[in-house]
């Protein structure tokens, strides 16, 4: 057997005219961690899906454990020791945690009768190994997405794979969960397992990878040992030109008060949250997953009913809207964190996604004025530099960064006073990230106030004019840009206001 556990040679793949992969080759030795990076749409997930048998390649060959692999079913591939943690969560919402972990490989007696005690015992051991406590009988739809991600990881571990692909496993993990993940990876590697790790957070790649492969527009750019790379070089490989990662700033002074919220409470988690927002600024909201940040966004947007408190959009004199439609009318919009589920019509065109909030203004006698719509879409495309094959492309086939831009375009067409961005750069590549940052500052210059929720501390610190830290449904503290450091934010986010003050 050769020294490589996996060799993928000259893989090509196209989808309906889009060349997603062109002549890409990678190879992996046992017991090492391989970083796979590249811009959105570079072809990383496609390459891994070919490895997992979810797609078949148009050309190229795969040699695994010394044997050339031809057609194989997903079940056979899993059995051969390859498992994948997919970028889009791959769990059945209605099924329980334990059933999901062992889906397709349930411990069984004769006649296909489930061995439930075994199923539960083995699931419990796995979760324990991951250091998480979950009710095994709970349908996974009841879990937070971070918990679901951990169930995914447990599922991959349960397959006793020799090669584990992790496609952006960290996008929705933060803090301790992330450390947990890296510890697990460390353990696996010590047992000789090979890991292919995809992430847009380059610091993670530098932390765990032994070797990094860069893809760009479906082609292999470089494969280098991590020691030969620095961040700037890696970014240049990815983007194709040098990129100075400097957060753009505003020049102007703090503007007028635009939004005041007092003592917001909901029956989800919020418990007396107050905030003020000024024209042309970015208010960053930090906190752990589950601290109530997303719930705050939803409450401000009228998506969840308030059980107490008040919200006022100052210059419009609007207050107390009971639905998103009224909030949009008043000039407040939300780009939600789960853009696939809540932010986009993924099976519809870019055109309709962008124009839908203002469709009623683009009609004459109820008939859509196609030209006017085209105009709106063209402007959005130019202003945000959205990369798409045509305005009629379905948004599900855009890369993550471009999807996020479409969500932004959709809301910009309504000309809002306040935009709430929940994790605006999750899953977005470095280049697009800085484009989105620049875009946010352009909006600021037009006087638009932005609330930005983010789990990425560098982004919070780099972009926010003021930072609010949440903990357990309350405001744990507010920091100015100069006071804010990662340590201080983490302290507030984990301890809460009172204890952090004492310590």
């Amino acid at each position: 057997m050769s020294e490589f556990i996996l060799e993928m040679r000259n893989i090509s793949k196209s989808f309906a005219g889009v060349q997603a992969l062109k002549d890409v080759s990678i190879r992996c030795r046992p017991g090492l961690v391989y970083g796979l990076v590249g811009e959105n749409g570079a072809g990383k997930s496609t390459l891994m899906k070919i490895l997992a048998g979810a797609y078949s390649a148009d050309a190229g060959e795969i040699t695994y454990k010394g044997e050339r692999r031809d057609q194989a079913s997903t079940a056979e591939i899993i059995a051969s020791g390859i498992s994948i943690i997919y970028q889009e969560l791959a769990l059945v919402g209605q099924m329980s945690v334990a059933e999901n972990i062992f889906l397709g490989r349930e411990p069984r007696h004769a006649l296909g009768i489930l061995n439930l005690p075994e199923l539960h015992a083995r699931s419990a051991v796995l979760l324990k190994r991951l250091g998480i406590e979950l009710d095994l009988d709970l349908p996974v739809s009841e879990l937070t997405i971070a918990q679901q991600q951990l169930v995914e990881i447990a599922k991959a571990l349960s397959q006793h794979a020799d090669l584990i692909v992790m496609d952006e496993p960290s996008a929705i993990l933060a803090g301790s969960e992330l450390d947990q993940l890296f510890e697990i990876i460390q353990n696996l590697v010590e047992q000789g397992v090979t890991i292919i790790y995809i992430s847009h957070r380059l610091e993670e790649v530098f932390r765990i990878a032994d070797e990094v492969t860069v893809l760009k527009d479906g082609e292999l750019v470089a494969t280098r040992p991590i020691g030969e790379l620095d961040r700037a070089t890696l970014v240049e490989y990815m983007v194709g030109r040098p990129l100075d990662e400097v957060f753009p700033q505003t020049e102007h002074e703090q503007g007028e008060l635009v939004l005041a919220a007092k003592d917001l409470a909901t029956d989800t988690i919020l418990d007396g949250v107050s905030l003020e927002l000024y024209a042309g600024e970015i208010l960053g909201i930090a906190g752990m997953v589950g601290s109530g940040r997303t719930e705050l966004a939803r409450a401000l947007f009228g998506a969840d009913p308030l059980t107490g408190g008040s919200i006022e959009l100052v210059d419009k004199g609007a207050s107390a809207w009971g639905s998103p439609a009224q909030a949009i009318g008043a000039g407040l919009v939300l780009a939600p964190e789960d853009r696939k589920a809540h932010g986009l019509f993924t099976t519809l065109s870019v055109r309709i996604n962008v124009s839908i909030p203002i469709l009623s203004t683009l009609t004459r006698l109820g008939v859509l004025k196609r030209r006017a719509e085209d105009q709106v879409v063209r402007e959005a495309q130019e202003r945000l530099s959205i990369v798409m094959s045509s305005p009629d492309q379905e948004t599900q086939f855009l890369s993550g960064g471009n999807q996020q831009k479409v969500v932004l375009a959709k809301w910009l067409s309504t000309d809002p006073a306040v935009i709430i961005l929940d994790e605006p750069t999750r899953g977005v590549d470095v280049g697009a990230k800085f484009e989105i940052y620049r875009l946010m500052r352009q909006l600021n210059d037009r006087g638009i106030a932005i609330v930005m929720i983010s789990s990425e501390l560098p982004e919070i610190i780099g972009m926010s004019d003021r930072i609010m830290v949440m903990n357990d449904g309350r405001v744990a503290g507010e920091l100015t840009r100069d006071e804010a450091g990662e340590a201080r934010i983490i302290e507030l986010a984990t301890l809460g206001a009172a204890e952090a003050g004492q310590s």
Partner: protein
């Protein structure tokens, strides 16, 4: 065998959260049963014929006729499919079994084999068209509804064939106070519950209906699951055709029309989602009983046939609205 000891049938303790979820999901089913109870009370107080052994036996038998097929339908709907052909298949089944049997005891076994074979065949054809030609279940089974009805009416437009004496006796036989046919339904309920809870196939039905892409990527044999579930559903229809023969004594081509909609109605009232991934056996039983008792009561109270349809429609809307409020 330590299955019992190791909690094979015993329930492990659920956490408070999963109990809450369970209640939230099943709250509406409790409402369905409460409504059934209400109907029974109305029956007892408003009609002296309702709460008699004779009438209750009737209700039980009629519910069993609908219930057998409803269970098959529920399994199909659980996989996010649908089977519109069950009514027509019941019709062809009663005709085929009557003709093959032709009143002879010796022909009973061949008739049963022929009818069940027909069910398996129809289910396999459905599976083939859905799996291999990738036609939507709605279209496949709609076509098969029309074709099978056509075949039925071609075979005969007037009653044909004859049941043997034992088969006719089967309809009225009882074990204890309960008709055998109702026992059969009961047995099938238990088997279906066991299937969904304790077998790999049962879990795969949830997986295919819950998220077919995830099922595929997890190595679930999707095609086999679909073949299996459509065959099971067609089998329940074939068996029901046999039961109808035992009731009618002849192959009556008027039998079977509308069963597909009634079963779908019962399944929906029972809280099974048309989008797949969720099902409840006890809910379906509730749906079947609700429909059966409502129909019976309306007859007892002398309500006009057309209004009966209206009332059924109202029940469906009310049930679905209930699940929208309480479910998630």
């Amino acid at each position: 065998m330590n299955l019992l000891a190791s909690g094979f049938f015993g329930k492990r303790k659920r956490s408070a959260q999963s109990r809450a979820v369970f209640l939230r999901r099943n709250g509406p089913i409790i409402m369905v049963y409460a409504f059934i109870l209400l109907l029974v009370l109305i029956g007892i107080t408003q009609s002296e014929r309702f709460f008699t052994e004779r009438n209750l036996t009737n209700v039980a038998r009629q519910s069993a006729f609908l219930g057998l097929v409803a269970l098959g339908q529920m399994l199909v709907i659980l996989t996010a499919g649908i089977d519109l052909s069950v009514g027509s298949l019941v019709k062809v089944s009663i005709l085929v079994s009557a003709i093959v049997m032709n009143g002879e005891s010796a022909n009973v076994l061949p008739a049963i084999i022929a009818t069940l074979g027909l069910g398996v065949l129809v289910g396999l054809i459905h599976g083939f068209l859905i799996n291999e030609l990738r036609i939507a279940p709605f279209i496949v089974t709609l076509a098969s509804l029309v074709i099978l009805r056509g075949i039925g009416l071609t075979i005969s437009s007037s009653p044909v064939g004859k049941a043997s004496r034992e088969v006719m006796m089967f309809y009225v036989q009882k074990i204890g106070p309960i008709p055998i046919i109702a026992w059969m339904f009961f047995l099938l309920i238990v088997l279906t519950m066991l299937l969904l809870r304790f077998t790999v196939f049962g879990k795969y039905l949830y997986a295919v209906g819950g998220n077919i892409e995830v099922a595929r990527l997890s190595g679930v044999p999707i095609k086999a699951v679909r073949y299996g579930v459509y065959v099971l559903c067609s089998l329940t229809a074939a068996v029901t055709g046999l039961l109808w023969l035992s009731r009618m004594g002849v192959g009556d081509p008027a039998i079977g029309d509308g069963i597909e909609l009634q079963t779908i109605t019962a399944v929906i009232i029972g809280g099974t989602s048309l989008f797949g991934g969720r099902a409840s056996v006890l809910g379906t039983l509730g749906g079947v009983l609700l429909l059966g008792i409502t129909a019976n009561l309306l007859v007892m109270l002398g309500v006009n046939q057309f209004i009966q349809g209206l009332i059924q429609g109202v029940i469906i809307v009310a049930a679905v609205a209930l699940y929208k409020q309480e479910g998630d």
